[in-house]
Amino acid sequence: MTNHIVDLKNTDCALIMGSNAAENHPISMKWLLRAREQRNAKIIHVDPRYTRTSTKADIYAPLRSGTDIAFLGGMIKYIIDNERYHKEYVLAYTNASFLVKEEFGFEDGLFSGYDADNRKYDVSSWDYQYDESGLPMKDPTLQNPRCVFQLMKKHYERYDIDTVCQITGTPKKKYLEVLEAYSATGAPDKTGTIMYAMGITQHTVGSQNVRSFAMVQLLLGNMGRPGGGVNALRGENNVQGATDMALLFHIIPGYIDSPTNGPDNKDLLAYIRKATPGAGKLQFDTLEEFRELVKAGFPNSGFKINTSKWMISLLKAWWGDAAIAENDYAYHYMPKRDANKNYSHIAMFEAMHKGEIDGLFVNGTNPVVGGPNANKEQEALSKLKWMVSIDLWLNETADFWTYPAWERPVENENVPKLSAADIQTEVFFLPAAAVFEKEGTAAQTGRWVQYRWQAADPVGESKADLWIYNELGKKIKSLYASSSKPEDEAITKLAWNYDDEHGHDDILKVAAELCGVNVSDGLPVEGFANLKDDGSTACGCWVYCGAMTYKDGEVIYKTKLRDNKDNSKEGLGLFSNWAWAWPVNRRIVYNRCSISPDGVTPWPGDEKRVLIHWDAAAGSWVGDDVCDTGKTSPPEKALPFIMRPEGMGCFFAAKSSMKDGPFPEHYEPWESPTANAMNKQNLNPATKVWEPDKQGTPDKYPIIATTYRVVEHWQTGALTRNLPWLAELMPDMMIEMSEQLAREKGIKNGRKVIVSTTRGDIEAVACVTKRFKPFNIHGQEVHEIGLLWHYGFKGFATGDPANRLTPHIGCANTMIPEYKAFLCDVRRA
């Protein structure tokens, strides 16, 4: 979330799209309903199915799964055509006026630079025109046909209301209501928030879906303001933290690109040149020279100009005394991935399925239920030599070798029938402590990092994961202790000292390293502005720097702060003294936009929602929130989007920001019942197709399927189906479908049905409901069904995993699987 949960109360209009907030983030509704009560805010819900969220919406608009860009592209066009955009904001805070290279173009669904053989774009034409000082050229009148605004207008010309409604299946009346209500937030005194979740991201165009949101919000001037923002409602209690800690192949902690084996990563200096925006063309041969350049500042760099400090502090945290200038601060201990290889979830399981992976750690996750194409992923597990599973329960993944794991309602040639004797995988199950049986911090969706204290003893011999990793780290280190091989140095020299004087793991030692310490005295670094790239600071994750402070001889972990008084004068609900938010306790990012460009005049009519303002006398930005711009940069220089090289909000995603185009364009899901009416490309041209032979076609599989969750369960259900109180509330795997489809197929409510795709079949109870209605797509009646993906064969509530049906294909940018739109057939069991 660019804003945070409590901030939802400040909105004038909420567009909930691709999220079932009332069910999956129930507390968000507390604040939305408050906005409605106190500010007369409107709530709009756009979803294929009428959900518990829809019941609380002022406007409910159905849309066919996988057509969000059509829906939002139409909204962009509507906003531009009807001049609903916030003009001053657009001009000052976005790249609307930037001129784009003449070579950039778009035709037949393809942007310039497409390489069909590799399904990849050469992004060199997706760039601005630069002046002689190296800065992008602009046209403040927004009239130049090569300016971003005009290109955008042209791009969305095709997204007229009728075409959009033909694609999305949204009734035109409803669509117009949504457009009218939401575009009203373009008024300077209004803000609107967009709340989304996996309904948006789990598509082959997932990232572009989110981009469309960003564009709508920038047009309407809703970014960086209370009650606005693009707000991802994240799904797991610390998925934000796990992402911050970079449990992802493509980054290392703090959203820094992970090193690759490309020539541009071959040593630390090359790496810094590549990873620091704007550094590519600069002349420097040593780190010292580079430091001087940074000190002077260089164009198109943004705040990431500091990357070298983050990187070297990280290396210092990991390899301690072994990280010195002479060995590139141990840069070479860090693994370098193959630059041409994808290591994401789908890729990992494809490799595992081919037998390329021997060992797997499963850290409180459950791919046998939650992974896409779960039949294949389960089979992949059987090819491992060993697997370590750490969880509270024997979940479906830990028990994948047991008989029930291989039972299927229908024989399917894709699914082998294995028995325990066939599976040669050794499985180590380590019982973990539950959340309140241990202590530590978690980052919630609004980036607040809150401490969780230990309230109970772990059950039996179960242990906190911290203990497990610490002990395992020590064991592994001791196995390598005698090695003097250079290839083992990354382990032998690894700084791994988290025990207290009694030999117990000390969480504060971990936290201190993570939040950053001065190497000389071991005291906390007060904020990432103080991180250095000379080895004098060590910091495991720069975005957390500042969470720990030193005051009056005492180290304070700010995540433990529990002062719940709202510090904002106008009652905006910032609660800045409650826990700590990254970065630097900033509660609403891009908050420079909460005031007009001059930095002193509030947006007309919106005096109460100003977060920061320029204090000329003091020469700095002041206000209720921590400013998101140079603290002492005067208004005309204080850029609003400092993590972008441009410093501006981007309608046009320049260069390699996106892999599949600078503007979002509608492409159909991989499996779609219809051809793309917007352009000639059916599928996102930049998406990798892993299993071409597994693409279901509408003749055999005419029904759209989507997956989702309910409030009573969570994710793969390991943490809910094992709880009797929750099993009671939603006891069986069920599939929702319209009354029309049920009639067509002779399906009765409450009876079993079988759903099939090219990947497999599942059996579940039918929930026939008026809440699903067939869509009218180009005059054709198209059915969609919904599957809960919480179920598996373990626990108090059981059922077939919906993901046995989902495909191995993902978003072009992130490789997040397309769980949300695929084709199936359904019949009576």
């Binding site: 040593d267 070479h332 850290n363 996750t365 791919p367 204290w453 196995l479």
Partner: protein
């Protein structure tokens, strides 16, 4: 009938008070002596954060401890009234946190440890059809050995890269790690650090699925 002086806390909207019971001057008469003693009376709740969705609702855990302060059993878990995000609220999942550790038996109504919780490390040998209980030391030793064996056999220390030079790449593609979004930050940090030091590149969490 027993008449006792009781206190009433009036809770209005957002101003939900916290752990202390506030006297607002009402006198309540206990109608029946049979009203159970408040089982969380004089129990200090311990704050935590909900382990489900990422909204970050605070929860408080009430537990019974013996005279030495040793944990005995859970009493109740509910929304943390101090937490500004949820102000004491909790949906069905958050409210069910008690069940993460303990449950009430369906037949006897007795409070027992959730029988699905695994209480000892378990090992399943290749090709066998059962779990065997093992101690922690054995398990961690074995895992460390497997890790070393697999890593050493598959480790790519140096590689000739596109520009023809040979660089250290320090990676293994034979070990993978998934998950972690349910862990605490500090745990995620140790995990990311340990795995990358071992040379893992197949490193993923639930953010991608």
């Amino acid at each position: 009938m027993k008449v006792t002086r009781r206190q009433f806390l009036k809770v209005t909207g957002a101003t939900a008070a916290s752990f202390a019971l506030v006297d607002l001057g009402f006198n309540l008469q206990a109608t029946a002596s049979a009203v159970k003693e408040l089982r969380i009376k004089n129990v200090t709740p311990v704050p935590t954060v909900c382990p489900y969705c990422a909204s970050g609702c605070g929860l408080v855990v009430y537990s019974e401890r013996d005279a030495e302060g040793k944990f005995v059993k859970l009493l109740s878990v509910h929304g943390d009234p101090d937490n500004p995000i949820n102000q004491g609220g909790a949906c069905s999942k958050g409210a069910a946190m008690f069940n993460l550790r303990e449950i009430y038996d369906e037949h006897t109504g007795e409070q027992i440890v959730n029988p699905k919780r695994v209480q000892k490390p378990l090992y399943r040998a290749a090709g066998t059809d059962k779990w065997v209980e093992k101690d922690w030391d054995w398990m961690l030793d074995q895992i460390a050995q497997r890790v070393k064996e697999t890593r050493d056999n598959s480790f790519i220390h140096k590689e000739t890269i596109a520009d023809g030079s040979e660089v250290i790449v320090n990676r293994t593609e034979k070990i993978a790690s998934i998950g972690g979004s349910g862990l605490d930050n500090e745990e995620c940090y140790l995990l990311t650090k340990m795995m990358r030091a071992l040379g893992l590149v197949y490193l993923e969490t639930q953010a991608r699925i």
